[in-house]
Each structure stands twice: as C-alpha cells, then as structure tokens.
Subunit: 417 residues, 2 copies
Amino acid sequence: MTEVNHMTTHEILTRAKAAAPACAAMDTARKNELLNAMADSLIARCGDILAANDEDVRRAEGVIAPVMIDRLRLTRQRVEDMAAGVRAVAALPDPVGETVEERTLENGLALRRVRVPMGVIAIIYESRPNVTSDAAALCLKSGSACVLRGGKEAFCSNDAIVKALREALAKCGADENLVNLVQDTSRASSAELMTARGLVDLLIPRGGAGLIRACVEGATVPCIETGTGICHVYVDKAADLAMAERIIFNAKTSRPSVCNAAEVCLVHADVAEDFLPRMKRALDEKHVELRLCPRAAQIIDGTPAGPNDFDTEFLDYILAVRVVDSLDEAVAHIARHSTGHSESIVTSDGAAAEKFARAVDSAAVYVNASTRFTDGGVFGLGCEMGISTQKLHARGPMGLRELTSVKYILTGTGQVR
Amino acid sequence: MTEVNHMTTHEILTRAKAAAPACAAMDTARKNELLNAMADSLIARCGDILAANDEDVRRAEGVIAPVMIDRLRLTRQRVEDMAAGVRAVAALPDPVGETVEERTLENGLALRRVRVPMGVIAIIYESRPNVTSDAAALCLKSGSACVLRGGKEAFCSNDAIVKALREALAKCGADENLVNLVQDTSRASSAELMTARGLVDLLIPRGGAGLIRACVEGATVPCIETGTGICHVYVDKAADLAMAERIIFNAKTSRPSVCNAAEVCLVHADVAEDFLPRMKRALDEKHVELRLCPRAAQIIDGTPAGPNDFDTEFLDYILAVRVVDSLDEAVAHIARHSTGHSESIVTSDGAAAEKFARAVDSAAVYVNASTRFTDGGVFGLGCEMGISTQKLHARGPMGLRELTSVKYILTGTGQVR
C-alpha cells in the first residue's frame, strides 16, 4: 500500500482524478466485488480501527461535548454495521449506464441520454466516522472516486477506516486512489477542496449549518447544499385532532436531534382551543418546552416565543407554536421561515391538502404523515448521502442516482449541419 | 406601469421573489396567454424598441468592435423574430406539474415526485438583445420569475424590450414583476445577483469565458456553467475519409463563432498521410489557418502549433491539428484539453465508436456526425437557455425541463415513524 501520510491535498486530488476514469469504466460485478472486499477488510481491520478510535476519543475527552464523544465512539458492533452498510450498497442497483432517454432526431441522428459518473466527489463532514465508509461505498458504486475530508477529532479513526478500504482495493488489483482521505484537517484543506476547479466534480458538505454555509459560500466547484431542517407541521381546521396529536408527537419527539424532526407547529385558529391542550398533554410526557406565540399563550402555558424561535433548528425537545387564521397564512409563514426541508399538513379536507402540497416549496411535503419520513432508506433509495435542501440537481434524500450525471451520445451516418 | 427606473437591484429581486409564487401556480393556458400577449407587445412596441436600439448603437460605435455592433443591432425583422421566438415557447409543452415518479412506500405513504418551478432565475448576459425576450419567455413558461442583467451597451434596447413585456403582463392582469431588468449595469449589480442567497434560486451566466468564470467563481447562489466549447473531431484509423472530410469541414467552417464549432482535429497516424492533404484542400477553400503538431507539419503546410493552441476556443477560421497513435491517445488528449462540450469520432469500427462514446466525458459525444448539432432546437427541446458544460443538474442544451426542479409529495393516513 502506498504511504499516504504527508501527501498534500493537491496531490491527493490529482491522484483521485487520475483514478476516476477506470472507476467510471468498471462494470457492476467488479464494483460489487470491490465493495464486498472493502466490507471484509473493515471486519479484518476492526482491531486497528477501534485502537485508532480509542486514540481519537482519548484526545477528545474534555475537549468536545459528551454528546459529540458518543457520536465519535466506535464499537465492534458499529464497525460491523459499517461493513453491513457497505455490503448493502453493493446490493443496490447500479445507476451508471442507464439509458434515461432515447429517440431519433429529424436528421436521423440516434440520440441517447445515458447516466454517467460524476468523476471525483469531495465530501467534507464532521465527527461521525461511519460517514467515511458510507460515503466511500456510495461514490464507488456510482462510479466516482472520492476525496474525504473528515473532522480533526475523528482523524485517527477515519485514517484507519480508509487504510482498510484502500487495502481491499489494492488486494483486488484496483487503484487504491479511488478512496482518499485528506491528511490535513486544517481549514486550508477544506478551502482547497472548495476551489479545486477541474479536479472536483461535485462537493457535498455534511454537517452543521456553519460547515454547510462555509461550503456553499466558498465553493467555486459544483456544490450541493444539504440539510438543515426547520420543519413545520400545520394542523388545519379540518384536521383529525387525534391524528394531528400523534403526528406532532412523533415528528417532535421520536428523534429530536435529526434534520427531519419538526421544530414548529402551526395551528388553525378554529381548532386551537381544542388541539393545543391535548398536544401539550402529549408533549409534557417528553418534557417538551413550548415556545408560544401570544395567541397560543392565551390557551396553554409555555415560554413566550422570542424573536428567533421561528427561525431556529432546535434539534432538541423544544417546539415553537403559532396560531394562524388560514391555510394561506400557514403557507406564507412556511415560505418565510422554512429551510425547505420537510413540512406536513394534517387535514381531512382534500382541497386543503392539495393546495398545501402545491404551494409549499420544500423538498418533501406531507399530507397526514410525520415529517420524520424524509430519509433515503424510507424513500426506497437504499441509502443516503445527505438531504438536499436546494433546488439544483437533487432535492430531498440523495441516493446513488443523485451522485451521477448524464451525457448525450449521438450516433450518425455522416450528418452535417 | 410601475416606474422601474432607479429601483435598486435588491428591490427588484425582492419584487421578483414576491411575484414568483403566483407564477408557479399558473396553469398552462394562462402562461401561454401571457406569452402571446408579450409577443404582441413586442410587435406593437417595435418602433420604441428600434429607437432605443439606435441609441445603443450610436453610443457603441467606435467603442466596441464592429462584429459586436452587428450583434447589438436590431431590425424590424429581428424584433419579429423575437416575437416569433416567444410564441414558439408558448407552443412548447409545459414541464411544470409533471409527475416524474410515483410509487407507494412500504409504510403505505403514496410518494410522488413532481416537477416544480425554480422560483427566481437570474440571468447575466452580454450584448445580444434577443436574449432578453428569449430568457423571459423560457422562465415564464417554466413557472419562474426572471431577473435579467444585460450588458451596458444594450441597456436601452433591453429596457425597451422589458417595458413591452411588462406592459403585456400588466394588461393581462398579471404581476409585471415576473419579468425584470436590472437597472444598474455596473459590476456591483452582477455581484449582487451572484450572492443574493434566498432571493435567487438559479443563476445562469450567458456570454464569454470571462463572464462565466466570474459567475462560477463568485456565485454563492446555485449557478450553472454554460458553454465555452473546445470541441474535438477525432478521425479514427477506420474512418471513411470522405465522411471525415465533410464532418471536419462542416464542424469548422459552417459557423466558426459558435461554441459547438470544432477547434481541434485529432487524426490517427495510420490515416494521417491520406487524410491531412485532402482535409487541407477542403479547408483552404474557406482560408482556414491550420496550427499543426510536428507530425502533422511533416505531411501538410501550416503554422506550427504554439503552446496554447490546443487549449484555445478560437471561434474563428483556425483549426489545431494533432496526429495521435491510438484511440486511447485521442481520448487522453480530449480529457486533458476539452471543455466538456461536444466531441466527435469518425469511424466505421463499431467497437472504437462505443469505446470513444463511453470514455469521452463531455456533454455530447458524436459518432460519425458534426459537433455542430449540439443545440436545444436540434435536440428537440424547442428552445435553449445556453449549453451546460458542467455535470450538475443539467448537461448539454438546457430547455424548459432544465429550468425546473422537483419536489416530493407524500400522502398518508396518519403514518408516524
């Protein structure tokens, strides 16, 4: 195995770019062979990975918050889960080579639009080391080389994981530069990935709002904005209130730390007096703090909502609540405050549901269901490389298809124009 | 009509953003009614538009090159062509609302992925005033408001065109802020469009390499890189040389100033001695200057190729010529020097054609046809908003479909996770 330490980010990018065409040309069987070998290698190197992770955890203790340490910590079970995740990607259909469109032009040219790999995909992410193997597997299956830039707290873990993955590639006679870890974890390397025009075909930031903003604002390479979620549940005047209670309870409390959890409940004035007390009773069970608009505060107890409470991704047991006079007012509130991730209406009125679904401009719009379903696995993509909250290329959960591009192939018999 | 002069770019963007939802909600008949009224208004205001154009041309004379003056100048015929272009967009199928995908998830949620408008599309372009009406029509038909930022040499013409278009919108009772012209033609307004996060959903630069680079590098809003074309024709050892001669003649000389014209001919060494002299005879008729690699120079007369000749979009009667020893060498040359626009192989060998089509990573790859066909009209899109040479969202000619996004709509019966 080539020694990758001390390689500059530019050298790593150059090697990934050189490796990409061979990956693009691989057939499905070969890619799956490599993926399964990568999974085997994670298990074989589990001891090394856990030792490296111990080192990361030891350095991080007292430096980062306990919840972040939990995210960072690996166990044998977690490494086995990572390997299972890589095998699951091997089992997914291969998006590359699919003919998306096929027709004959008036001049006789046979036109085909086919799905092709991106080339080099760079991913900048934060502390969870499982992202390392997930991202490498998704990129390889979609025919691209990847350049991974993880957080400095997870460097030893990520390095051990990538060493195991590259070892598998080398053993199978493939170019190990299909999977690369940036060795420099300073801001300089992120900046270099963001601006490596001609070397990076797609940049995906995965992490907190600050990281994503830095990438979107600093990137000169194509970049997809992923995932902050200020998600809304609107309880319409025609809502089944028992269903509304179940949905808001689930959307808020089943996993508050994730981006598809609800942060705001909008309630139609006609049902506010009936609904808010029962909602509060349900949420009290989980000690959810309510931040209330003045009208809601006249009906139930809670904290008065501050100026930022309708624009905050709490990621916690906190829910902002506002009473609105109409569906239009709910839609307007969402247009002004949403991050465009996931919103839900609870209603028995088909026309109201249709209007909401049409007017709300978010990646996923729900009728009578929890916002928690916005997820690549649930949507049947088999996997997920973040959730796009912008409108270009991919919107919502990104699976293998969203990691590819297309090209036109036109076959003629000497046509000139 | 509201007075738009002296409105700041931020005010214009804010009004466009406010106007966009109504446009997104319009049905096809209403959009077509507005488009046909816009076409009528261009004809009705033809006198005003030509007078404004005279003013632009008068100011530009002696300041910009004669070829640029030609691009700037409008005639009654050109205004009629603009109106016909707007009517042609009205006649195209409406992409908005199309169900792209529909299935039921395991949990019973009915999932639909539907095509939706972008919202606000900003376009920064150079001197041709016809782009103004084209872009406005394409954005409106795809359900988006547009903010147009033309070049300062065409400001009076663009302003008169936009006034005519807005007058038509107002007459039909629609929001005239669906079509907007930025009043400030300094660099500051371009910079503002590039960074108007939350107000611009898509930025499209149309123009020279400098403009496009500035947008791609400066944009913090989603941006699509369009069209410089260093296009290659590769004459394989198994080529029909008469066909190769016709294709290279057409690709180079039928319209050298456009992005899909060929700039480079690669010739397999096995056929170079037969092919190059006949190619030269054909191109001599149009006085094409040949920039030759040392091996080509041993076969035909021409200028020795300089260090940049294989990396230059000549847009002129100039062709760089290189002899290669294999298809692989041709593919490698293209990977290193192409802008990813359009490339062609001339060959009678099916395996060579397939290998080339697979390995060349450009928006359009041709087998036995001229590169000149890369065009929205020719590809059957009915229109074109530039040609994307990057891999995100759109690749190749961008039609109405490429000006839209998608969203997921999920309908349930109270599902929680």
